[in-house]
C-alpha cells in the first residue's frame, strides 16, 4: 500500500512553462479525477508522476521514498490516440505486453487482468475487432497487468459513448474499492465527477482539490470573481 506524493512540481517545454508549483497526494485505494481544459498540462503531470519526465523543480515520493528507482510501482495508461489499434494482436496478447519488463512473468496475471475488466471471453479476439469501449478496457487490463500499485489513466473515457463510459467508470470504481490507487485525467466537468472520491482541477497549476462538491463550490467562487478556468 503506497501513497503518491508530489511536492511543488514545476515543468516547462523549452521556455514555455507548462506546470507550476503542483503539490498533491494520492492516497491508497482512492479514485481521483484530474480535470482541466486542453493544454492545462494534465498529460504532462501524469508523465511526471510516472517518471517519464523529470520535473524541473520539486520532488515526487512513494510514501517517503523518491520515485526514481521505484517508478515501476506507477503504471500509466496512455491516451487512445497513441495506440496503433490496427496492429495484429489479440486482446490477451496486448495484456501480456504489460509484463514485458516484469521480473516474474505470469500468465495468471494476464488472465486475472482480463477478468477484472470483464474481457476474458474476448481474450482470443483481435484487438481491432473490439468496440471502442472494449478496446479501452483491454488497454486498462494491460496497465493492470504491470506489477504496480498506482495507476494513472490518461483520458480513458475520451471518445467513448455514455454506456461504455459508465461501464468503464464502474470498473475503475471497483478497482479502487479493491485497494488500488487510481488517478484519471478527464475533460468531463459534469455529473460524471460524482463517481470520484477526490477531484483535482488543473490549469497549469492546481485550482482546486477536494471532494467533487468542494471543488464545484470552489470553482464557482473563482468564476464569480471573473476567473473562468474551463474555457
Amino acid at each position: 500500500m503506497t501513497n503518491l506524493i508530489a511536492k511543488s512540481l514545476s515543468f516547462s517545454y523549452g521556455k514555455e512553462s507548462v506546470l507550476k508549483d503542483i503539490s498533491l497526494e494520492l492516497k491508497t485505494g482512492t479514485l481521483t479525477a484530474l480535470v482541466g481544459p486542453n493544454g492545462a498540462g494534465k498529460s504532462t503531470l501524469l508523465r511526471l508522476l510516472q517518471g517519464q519526465l523529470i520535473p524541473h523543480e520539486g520532488k515526487i515520493f512513494l510514501d517517503e521514498h523518491p520515485l526514481g528507482a521505484n517508478r515501476s510501482q506507477v503504471s500509466l495508461m496512455p491516451q487512445r490516440s497513441s495506440i496503433n489499434w490496427n496492429f495484429p494482436i489479440t486482446t490477451e496478447g496486448l495484456v501480456a505486453l504489460g509484463q514485458v519488463n516484469a521480473a516474474n512473468k505470469s500468465c495468471c496475471k494476464t488472465e486475472a487482468s482480463l477478468q477484472r475488466v470483464g474481457l476474458i471471453a474476448l481474450a482470443k479476439k483481435r484487438l481491432d475487432s473490439l468496440s471502442g469501449g472494449q478496446q479501452q478496457r483491454a488497454l486498462l487490463a494491460k496497465t493492470l497487468a504491470q506489477n504496480a500499485s498506482i495507476f494513472l489513466l490518461d483520458e480513458p473515457c475520451a471518445a467513448l459513448d455514455p454506456p461504455s463510459r459508465e461501464q468503464f467508470l464502474s470498473i475503475i470504481r471497483q478497482l479502487a474499492e479493491a485497494g488500488l490507487t487510481i488517478f484519471v485525467s478527464s475533460h468531463d466537468w459534469g455529473q460524471a465527477l460524482n463517481a470520484y472520491d477526490k477531484v483535482i482541477t488543473l490549469d497549469r497549476t492546481v485550482l482546486a482539490f477536494g471532494t467533487p462538491e468542494e471543488v464545484r463550490s470552489k470553482l464557482q467562487s473563482i468564476s464569480s470573481m471573473g476567473n473562468h478556468c474551463c474555457g
Binding site: R47, Q50, Q52, L76, P78, S82, I83, N84, N86, F87, P88, I89, T90, G93, L94, L97, V100, N101, K124, R126, D128, S129, Q146
Partner: protein, 264 residues
C-alpha cells in the same frame, strides 16, 4: 539427377525469386505495423550510391548498398527531428537526393561500367551464387532480429511511447530494423531491383496482415502470399519472355483489388 536439376539455367533465379518473394513481405509486415514503410522506401533508393561506389572500388556491392542505405535513413531521421512533423517531406527529399547522387556518381567515376537499369529494376536471369548468399544472409539477419527482439517489435509497433516509458530502447530496435531492411533491399536487387522492391515489401504484407492474430502469424502469411506472387510472376516472365522484376511489380498492383475489407 539432382545435379542435373541444379544445372538448369532457371533454377538459381527461381530459388532467389522465391526466397526474396518470401523475405520482402515478411519484413514488410513488420515495417507496415511500425509505420516505417516510407523509411524502407528511402533506404531502397539510398542504397544506390553505395552500390555504385562499392563497384568502383571493387568491394561487394551489397556492403556498400547496405551502408549507404543506413546512412540515408539516419540522415533523414536526424533532419526529420528538426522539421516539426513534416518528416514525410524530409524523407522524400533525402530519397530523391540519394538516388540522384547514385546516378551522378556513375559518369563522375569515369570508366565505371554499371548497369543502372538492372540495379533499379532487377535482372533475375543474370544472378549468381553471390545473390543467393546475400538473400540467405538477409533472411538470417531477419530471423536473428525476431529471435532477440520479437516482443520489443510488438510493443514498439503497438505503442511506441508506452514501450519507451517501460524502459525499452526504441531507437536501437528501430536501428536494427533499419539494418535488416537495408540487407533485405540489397538482397532483392537482383530479383526485382531496388525501386520495385517496395511493391514486394507492401502488397503481400497487406494481405498477410488482414485477420492475422499476431505479428508472427502476419509475417508467415505475408511470406506465403509473396511466394505465390513471385512464383506466378516468374512463370509468366518465362512464358511471355518479359522482365520478371517489373512483372512482379505489376502483379503486386493487380492483386490489391482482391484485398478483403476487415470485418468487425
Amino acid at each position: 539427377m539432382l545435379e542435373a536439376f541444379f544445372t538448369n539455367w532457371w533454377v538459381l533465379p527461381f530459388l532467389i525469386a522465391l526466397l526474396v518473394g518470401m523475405l520482402c513481405p515478411a519484413t514488410g509486415a513488420v515495417l507496415i505495423t511500425h509505420r516505417r514503410l516510407l523509411q524502407a522506401n528511402l533506404i531502397s533508393h539510398a542504397v544506390v550510391p553505395g552500390i555504385v561506389l562499392a563497384l568502383a572500388i571493387g568491394v561487394d556491392p551489397s556492403l556498400g548498398g547496405m551502408l549507404s542505405g543506413l546512412v540515408g535513413a539516419l540522415v533523414a531521421e536526424r533532419l526529420s527531428s528538426k522539421s516539426k512533423g513534416n518528416n514525410e517531406g524530409v524523407i522524400n527529399t533525402v530519397l530523391a537526393g540519394t538516388l540522384g547522387l547514385g546516378v551522378l556518381l556513375i559518369p563522375l567515376l569515369g570508366s565505371l561500367r554499371v548497369d543502372l537499369e538492372s540495379i533499379l529494376f532487377g535482372d533475375l536471369l543474370a544472378v549468381g551464387q553471390a545473390d543467393l548468399i546475400r538473400s540467405l544472409l538477409a533472411a538470417t539477419a531477419l530471423l536473428l532480429l525476431l529471435k532477440t527482439s520479437y516482443q520489443k517489435l510488438v510493443y514498439i509497433g503497438l505503442d511506441p511511447e508506452g514501450a519507451a516509458a517501460s524502459g525499452l530502447n526504441v531507437s536501437s530496435v528501430r536501428l536494427a530494423l533499419g539494418f535488416v531492411t537495408a540487407l533485405v533491399v540489397v538482397s532483392s536487387m537482383a530479383a526485382v531491383g531496388v525501386i520495385l522492391v517496395i511493391g514486394l515489401l507492401s502488397a503481400p504484407a497487406l494481405f498477410g496482415l488482414n485477420h492475422a492474430p499476431s505479428l508472427h502469424s502476419a509475417m508467415v502469411r505475408s511470406a506465403g502470399y509473396g511466394f505465390l506472387l513471385t512464383f506466378i510472376g516468374f512463370l509468366l516472365s518465362i512464358g511471355f519472355n518479359l522482365s520478371p522484376g517489373p512483372l512482379i511489380g505489376v502483379l503486386c498492383l493487380l492483386s490489391l483489388p482482391f484485398l478483403r475489407e476487415k470485418s468487425k
